[in-house]
Amino acid sequence: MTTAKDKYQKVAYYPGCALEGTAHAYNRSTQQVGKALGLDLVEVKNWNCCGAMEVKNIDPKLQTYLSSRVMAIAASEMKMDVVMAPCNGCYHNLKKAEYDLAHDPASVEVVDRLSQKAGHATYQAGQVETIHALDWIMHGIGEAGLKQRLKGSLQGLKVANYYGCMYTRPRHIFPEKDKGPGTESTSKPHFMDDLLGAAGAVNVEFPLKTACCGGAHTLSDSDTSTKLVLNILRTAEAAGAEVIATECPTCHSGLEMHQVRAEKKFNQPTKVKILYFTQLLGLALGLSPRQVGVHENISDSLGFLREKGIA
């Protein structure tokens, strides 16, 4: 029987639009961490946008089609069994499409019609398994495996792990979660805590792990987003965190952007640093700050990481 460990050694990689732009550091650090851990990533050929948080508001079935095309290419053209998406939005939309195509005949009909007109294979539910970068490392390597490969340590760095909305909600599109020990929880997710803890970080008690940063309206309702982000930043600081670890490009850039906006527009400065969890893991695996793209972050953490002896 193939275990998750075997299955995740070589997976189709779906970076998504943000990781080619503002979240380049997440792309870079994910690939570098994969390399350091001996996990293979094969980028999905000619991938397209999954629909993000916008296309569903024009028409939800179009979002299902867009996400299904990515999975169809991975399954039919690349013969891959697993698609890994580091972006919460991409991950969420692929899981949502998977759920809808398994349960809703109307979605199946639209996706089939559009796929045929577009001239590619129709994605059939169950052809691939979609996973997040956290699942990939958690199940492909595990905490013990990670510990064996460490070249450094996060040296007791105090981290608040921020998972955001799309990784756990709504519950029904993540049938593999909430299945007891070893599985992820939708109410109290812990994979990021587990991995960073194994790398030497101290996870602070952070009550807003799955709070919303207002990412969907980060530009269209900026004041609301600034209020939501400021609450997250302040709560992390009050919990004693030096760093907020992120796993989503929308959350990450939302936190960074509204940290600046809160400071400049509302005179509400906060000090907590914001880093992708893959950047922190990379540093513990002995990669340089440049290799994991620390210089690409808006939140300037290089000096701080050097001071702590982590970079």
Partner: protein
Amino acid sequence: MPIHEQSLIRPEDLTTHEQLVIDGVDVSGHWSTFITSRAVTDYNEAMQDEVAALPGGEHIHRCWQCGSCTNSCTVNALNPEFNPRHWIYLVRIGMESEILRDKDIIWQCVSCNKCTYACPRDVVPEGVMKALSHWLELKGHVKPSPSMVFDEVFSEQVFRRGKIEEGRVMQRFFRRTGQSLNQPWLIEMMRRMLRHLPLGMLTKLGLATLVAPSTSGWSGARAAIEEYVHEQEHKRRRALGLDALIEAAKRDAGPATAGEGARS
């Protein structure tokens, strides 16, 4: 946990008489507080069906008003007037005039899905909020919200090229909503973003804003999507009876336009 209530009795509907004697009993002041009687005659009995015909609104009929949506709502925590449970109730009983009181905030749902996670009846309140925002726009009660403009700018690029480039989406959104890019916090953010970037990466970012990234072999998908969008728009217009509304408006405006023409 409490069901988030919304009182339908508003201060403007209360009347107190300073001097009032009824049947020889003096009930002046506080003792004579009355709620102005109101007979509602303007129900829109089609409202639930109209919202249910828009994407996201399909399951509104399942709601049994438990209040879990409002109780878990991210936006409600910032603004108590933002009350999904109450709006679902109003749509279901067809009180269009009451919904219109909140027409300018309904679009502010941030799609965090806490309501959908909490809902015991699978109403998908997040979807209902989006359907209701669409309904308000389609019926002409509100102008397209900033969120809708963003969704359109974003989706246009996806449909055309298969993927988006964030800088381009941001520029178009700011232009279409008439906002300046010259805001101190934005400039400060760009400064911090570019501070440590190596030249190679700066060039790449610059090029991406000039030559938009696209998915190769996208033309087939683009044609299929455009056809589908057109078909769905037609369906929604019909479900809301928009063409009949426009025809009626034209008929009403008809004689006036003709009159103006005669004068000139």
